[in-house]
């Protein structure tokens, strides 16, 4: 059966993920101008982001609206009005005034799950600390499939701050469920051996791994990592792990470039590399496709988890 919540991809069966991708394809196909869906008609969805977000939050809000539902924002600034009330209490209050589902982002792993277990309505993660970001992984899969790629046997080389990446952790389950191979590349500080799941390769040398990738998946490096002294500087990171013009030549001829955004140009990928790709092979950069497809994947998730539960 369908899960109640979508907080992690760890225990989501392949059939459910496939169902989401199929529904997303349906919505994308039918999303012509003026199209109207009534999947969530009369449903109130709380969008509660406790960490900054532009694309994920907008994408979720738009997804709800396109499905005919109402969004209600419940954010930390509003929460201060409920002084002395815990998040749990506020959530119960919102449920009793008619919220049918929560879309939640929070920095503390497990916090959302703890609350979700206490109530009956669906909770959908919009990214949870360094834990999981399930819709991001699903929209990545959707984007690759849309290119007509067979995920089975595909090799994804993932580069960057694996340690702090919730996207990487969701992909540990998503890619392997679809039979894709994963190679992780990062400096040791971002790639402790205990983090690497069974069946996944890892390396500290970008040059060694790039030639193997059908997809190069770049992860964002937060400026905060430099401030905390985890790496000497973003520049030094880029010197060893940034994708630049020279390293582009190491890639397979048609290898694709993905990034969950927002991109730090000059860190994860150099300006020249982007310019060259845009000029010569713009189809190899999937970053805008990922953003666009996020909408449909989130519509599909809402359809499956929220509409499916409606009496």
């Amino acid at each position: 059966m369908f899960p109640k919540d979508l907080l992690s991809l760890e225990n989501i069966p392949l059939e459910v993920m496939e169902d989401i991708l199929d529904r997303a394809a349906y919505y994308k196909h039918h999303d012509v101008e003026g199209a109207f869906f009534s999947t969530l008609k009369g449903k109130n969805i709380a969008v509660s982001f406790w960490e900054p977000s532009t694309r994920t939050r907008s994408s979720f809000e738009l997804a709800v609206q396109k499905l005919g539902g109402n969004t209600i924002r419940y954010s930390p600034e509003m929460a201060s009005e409920y002084k002395g009330e815990t998040i749990e209490d506020t959530i119960r209050t919102l449920i009793s005034i008619g919220i049918n589902a929560f879309i939640f982002r929070h920095s503390s792993p497990g916090l959302v799950g703890r609350i979700a277990r206490m109530v009956d309505i669906p909770f959908i993660s919009g990214g949870e600390g360094c834990y999981q970001h399930p819709t991001q992984a699903l929209l990545d899969l959707f984007t690759l499939r849309e290119r007509g790629l067979n995920l089975h046997g595909l090799r994804v080389v993932m580069v960057g701050d694996i340690l702090h990446s919730r996207v990487a952790r969701s992909h540990f389950y998503a890619l392997s469920a679809f039979g894709a191979g994963l190679t992780l590349v990062a400096p040791p500080v971002f790639l402790p051996p205990e983090l690497v799941p069974p069946g996944v390769d890892s390396s500290h040398r970008l040059e060694d791994t790039l030639p193997r990738g059908d997809v190069v998946y770049l992860l964002r490096i937060q400026g905060e990592r430099q401030e905390k002294g985890l790496i000497p500087s973003l520049r030094e990171y880029a010197a060893l792990f940034g994708l630049n013009e020279v390293r582009l030549l190491l890639l397979k001829e048609n290898a694709l470039i993905m990034h969950p955004g927002p991109v730090n140009i000059g860190v994860e990928i150099s300006y020249d590399a982007i310019k060259m790709l845009h000029k010569e092979q713009p189809g190899r950069i999937l970053i805008q496709d990922q953003v666009k497809n996020g909408l449909y994947v989130r519509m599909a998730v809402l359809d499956l988890l929220v509409a499916g539960k409606v009496n």
Binding site: S108, L111, G129, Y131, L163, P192, E194
Partner: protein
């Protein structure tokens, strides 16, 4: 009161006693131990073959009072001790205010006396306010009777300060107890740096953060000659360093808590805050190394690091919830069931690590029932199986990772200084139907 314990099966390795014994108690002390004492003029408690051990000594507990009474009070913590078969506990100084001056220590002793359930030995703060900047008034604290010095969970990062504190503690003849953790490596961490913690996206406390400090303390001991005790070691690297230290003749004792002997990092799966502790539960190979070190005598003390927290605090999200688990009311049955019954530890070794050795480290009486010793003892119903239920704890802290475990080795009578403090789960002053002296005098059967 004076009485005779008959029909017990005594294990007292310090007195080289293993087998049936009658124990005559007068004026709070053991007067005689013999297979048969003969006619006496005192009340008799018939034990029907139950096990008798010297009272357990827990050299690492947090009683929370003053300042943390929502989590525990001295009285509730001592009741938990009595319920768990502990007759003496050493309490850590991280209260509010900290135990860094005479008044605070005197206050703890006074409240412990009025609770009257267990011997309480305060550990003094090593640095003022546990701030890690300057030594506390160590001589002054020693005058008030502290049995050691420690900043426990606020480890002293400044190596020079630790060196000088060890030198001064040596003057006073008291041990320094070190919680080994280099915060510059582990700060912000909440779980072991293992597969499970990384998968959950939680910040980690790597094993090396403990091991580098163990190495520092061992070298400082060698340099100063101080009495050094390592609190709750948790890694195989620490065990390897202890092995090296033994070869070097470094004078150190070390303790292990029960939980890492029976649990690994997987216990935090599902963000279980009842398994959140510091040091964290680590890998199976760490668990094996600790067990091996305990069995082989590199680690000579089991202490619980009893760390009660209120329910609202432990119900927070994993990052925000405080570290620590309670231990006083589960330690003996855990060790009994998981180690003694399985032949991994003898009864004598159990008594040594839970009673005689910690008493020796603290330099306090106890650990034996030889004639003249205080009549501090615990009677164990070794065959009876029970289910751990936090709702039955006397501790205000219900934060145990062992809820629902089926165990044997339940303490059924705890005596301190000849006075019965716990009988069949009832604690004096806390429970109704406590056996009054009259019941003994009239010869009523207690078991």
């Amino acid at each position: 009161m004076d009485l005779l314990l008959k029909g017990g099966n005594l294990c007292d390795p310090r007195a080289s006693w293993e087998g049936p014994a009658e124990i005559l108690v007068r004026k709070g002390r053991v007067e005689a131990v013999s297979p048969s004492i003969g006619p006496v003029d005192v009340p008799i408690i018939e034990l029907h073959g139950k096990t008798v051990l010297p009272g357990l000594v827990d050299m690492h507990v947090h009683l929370r009072e003053p300042g943390g009474e929502a989590a525990e009070t001295i009285a509730s913590g001592c009741a938990a001790a009595a319920a768990g078969g502990f007759t003496a506990v050493a309490c850590m100084p991280n209260t509010s205010p900290a135990l860094d001056d005479r008044e605070a220590v005197a206050c703890v002793r006074q409240r412990a006396d009025s609770a009257g359930l267990a011997r309480v030995y305060p550990i003094g703060a090593l640095t003022r306010g546990l701030g890690g900047k300057e030594m506390s008034a160590m001589w002054n604290l020693a005058q008030e009777g502290v049995k050691g010095f420690s900043d426990d969970g606020m480890p002293v990062i400044d190596g020079g300060l630790m060196l000088r504190a060890m030198q001064f503690a040596l003057l006073l003849g008291l041990p320094v107890i070190s919680h080994c953790e280099d915060l510059s490596i582990s700060s912000g961490g909440v779980v072991h740096a293992g597969t499970c913690g990384y998968r959950q996206g939680l910040p980690v406390i790597p094993s090396v953060s403990e091991a580098v400090m163990v190495a520092r303390e061992l070298l400082l001991q060698k340099h100063t000659g101080a009495r050094l005790h390592l609190a709750h070691v948790s890694t195989r690297e620490s065990v390897a360093l202890l092995r090296w230290a033994a070869g070097e003749g470094i004078n150190v004792t070390a303790e292990v808590t029960p939980h890492p002997l029976f649990l690994t990092e997987e216990a935090v799966e599902g963000f279980n805050t009842d398994a959140k502790m510091n040091p964290p539960l680590r890998s199976p190979s760490d668990r094996e190394a600790l067990l091996e070190a305990l069995r082989g005598g590199l680690i000579t003390v089991v202490a619980t690091d009893h760390a009660p927290h209120s329910l609202p605090d432990k119900e927070k999200d994993f990052l925000s919830a405080p570290f620590g688990v309670v231990g006083l009311e589960t330690a003996l049955p855990l060790l009994w069931t998981m180690l003694v019954e399985r032949g991994l530890l003898s009864r004598a070794e159990l008594v040594n690590c839970l009673s005689a050795n910690p008493a020796a480290v603290l330099g306090v009486p106890g650990g034996t029932l030889a004639p003249g010793a205080p009549a501090d003892l615990v009677v164990v119903d070794s065959g009876k199986e029970f289910t751990v239920d936090r709702e039955n704890f006397y501790s205000r802290g219900k934060n145990t990772p062992f809820q629902g475990w089926r165990l044997r080795g339940l303490p059924v009578l705890t005596m301190v200084g000849g006075d019965i403090k716990m009988w069949k789960g009832r604690v004096k002053g806390f429970s109704s139907h406590f056996p009054e002296t009259d019941a003994l005098i009239t010869g009523r059967e207690l078991f």
